[in-house]
């Protein structure tokens, strides 16, 4: 087979898979820690206090957000690696691998736009009125949060395909797929964030920030780990690499299956 079809480029594939960790670690550090978003400034903060927050943290927010705008693109490359693993399961005619890649790619858009708005807010702080700062701060939150459905399509597509994996030991374990469904379910109440400045459904509140976001984060981390492993497993399945240890107990090595 490998003589008639072009060779699979496993090293590029692995490289793309590793952009998953680059995304989730980079975002955690730059957006969360450096730009002081753990927890984010509350929606109920007065315009004056918001202005002061941006004034005090101007450099941190500028550095954090500009790095995030660059690193956010790794969600797309990670999505491409996931999509390729999915293609191995659903075949070349499968549609869900496309949905996954589009979903991951478009998820980058609200991320880059929102971070750009927060960045500009810090950049222009001396020229902006407090009301303007508040408006821009809300604007970015509305965009980044309410785009959840495009990410949901990505997650649903991945979950469905990985659950259909017929391998005895699935490339991505079933619990990750089901956690994907949990993530999607936790996204829907995010639609409530425009209506509340306090309580569990405000964008900094318990549901949106401490349930929906961490649930998604857990999905990204676990999916990244299993995609990195999956590419190596596929390489062995294809016979392009030798297993380090015999992975199948008492049977033929995977490479010969």
């Amino acid at each position: 087979m490998s003589t008639s079809t072009p060779k699979t480029d496993y090293s590029t594939w692995k490289l793309l898979a590793w952009t998953g960790p680059v995304f989730f670690i980079g975002f955690f550090v730059m957006w969360g820690l450096l730009a002081d978003n753990f927890p984010p400034m509350a929606a109920s903060t007065t315009a004056q206090d918001m202005w002061q927050h941006y004034k005090d943290l101007q450099t941190e927010i500028m550095v954090g957000m500009s790095v995030c705008m660059v690193l956010g693109s790794c969600y797309m490359t990670f999505g491409a690696a996931v999509s390729r693993v999915m293609r191995r399961i659903e075949g070349p005619e499968g549609m869900l691998a496309n949905v996954e890649m589009m979903g991951a790619t478009i998820t980058y858009c609200p991320i880059v736009v929102a971070c750009g708005i927060w960045l500009t807010c810090a950049l222009q702080i001396d020229r902006l009125s407090p009301d303007m700062v508040q408006t821009m701060y809300y604007l970015a939150w509305m965009i980044i949060d309410l785009a959840y459905m495009v990410t949901s399509w990505q997650i649903i597509a991945a979950a469905v395909v990985f659950l259909r994996d017929k391998r005895e030991k699935k490339l991505v374990p079933a619990w990750v797929s089901w956690w994907g469904f949990v993530t999607v379910a936790s996204f829907f109440p995010v639609s409530l964030i425009p209506f509340f400045k306090t309580g569990p459904f405000a964008f900094h509140g318990m549901f949106n920030f401490w349930i929906a976001f961490p649930t998604w984060y857990v999905w990204i981390v676990s999916m990244s780990i299993f995609i990195i492993k999956a590419v190596s497993r596929i390489e062995i399945e294809d016979g392009a690499a030798q297993p380090k240890e015999v992975p199948v107990r008492g049977g033929a090595p995977l490479a010969t299956r």
């Binding site: 079933a174 619990w175 089901w178 379910a185 569990p200 349930i211 649930t215």
Partner: protein, 194 residues
């Protein structure tokens, strides 16, 4: 499917697939956190919560509980019928569960309608925020469950279930019972806690 032998010799088995239980457990934890959040909110404004609670119609809440319990029971009977290979009864039982699910949604629509007509929305105060959002999120679960029941009904009519092929039905049943179970707590929390 997980099956292990228990000490007494009977087979211990989790219905459906493990993933559904992961989903159900996570969903129940989310709801539990919202229950706690409601109780803490109530602590801040007990008088407002109590005054607002008294405007709710207990009859709606109680009847909705009876509806969901009965719907759940229909699903239990459907699963049992499949395991006895009494396949003729299965579509009827699932249809019954579905119609009761629809009845729940209709009753909820009437209840919401009355509140909105009275000028009350989720923005009126913190109690109504919890009332509308918690029952609304639960209603989304009911809606999803109803779609699931239609799928199961179609499969049952096509005779796709049997005593040794009932994992899909069991998954659906587990989800639907969770929707019932959450309402069993939500109802007293919002309507009866005084």
């Amino acid at each position: 499917m997980v099956a292990v032998r228990s000490g007494s010799g009977e087979t211990r088995r989790l219905p459906g697939v493990e993933g559904v239980w992961v989903f159900v457990a996570a969903d129940m934890v989310f709801f539990a956190l919202l229950f706690v959040s409601f109780m803490l909110g109530r602590q801040e404004a007990t008088a407002v919560f109590e005054a607002s609670r008294q405007t709710l119609d207990v009859n709606f809440g109680g009847i909705n509980t009876l509806i969901l319990l009965t719907s759940s029971w229909c699903v239990v009977l459907a699963v049992e019928a499949v395991k006895r290979n009494a396949l003729d009864q299965v579509p009827r039982l699932i249809a019954g569960a579905f119609l009761l699910g629809v009845a729940f949604m209709v009753s909820k629509a009437l209840e919401y309608g009355g509140k909105i007509k009275a000028g009350i929305s989720m923005l009126s105060n913190d109690f109504y925020m919890y009332y509308f959002t918690l029952t609304g999120i639960h209603l989304l679960h009911v809606f999803a469950g109803n779609i699931l029941l239609i799928v199961l009904w179609n499969k049952a009519r096509a005779r796709q279930f049997s005593a040794d092929r009932c994992v899909v039905l069991e998954c659906g049943a587990t989800y639907w019972h969770m929707v019932d179970l959450l309402w069993i707590v939500l109802f007293p929390l919002l309507y009866l806690l005084r």
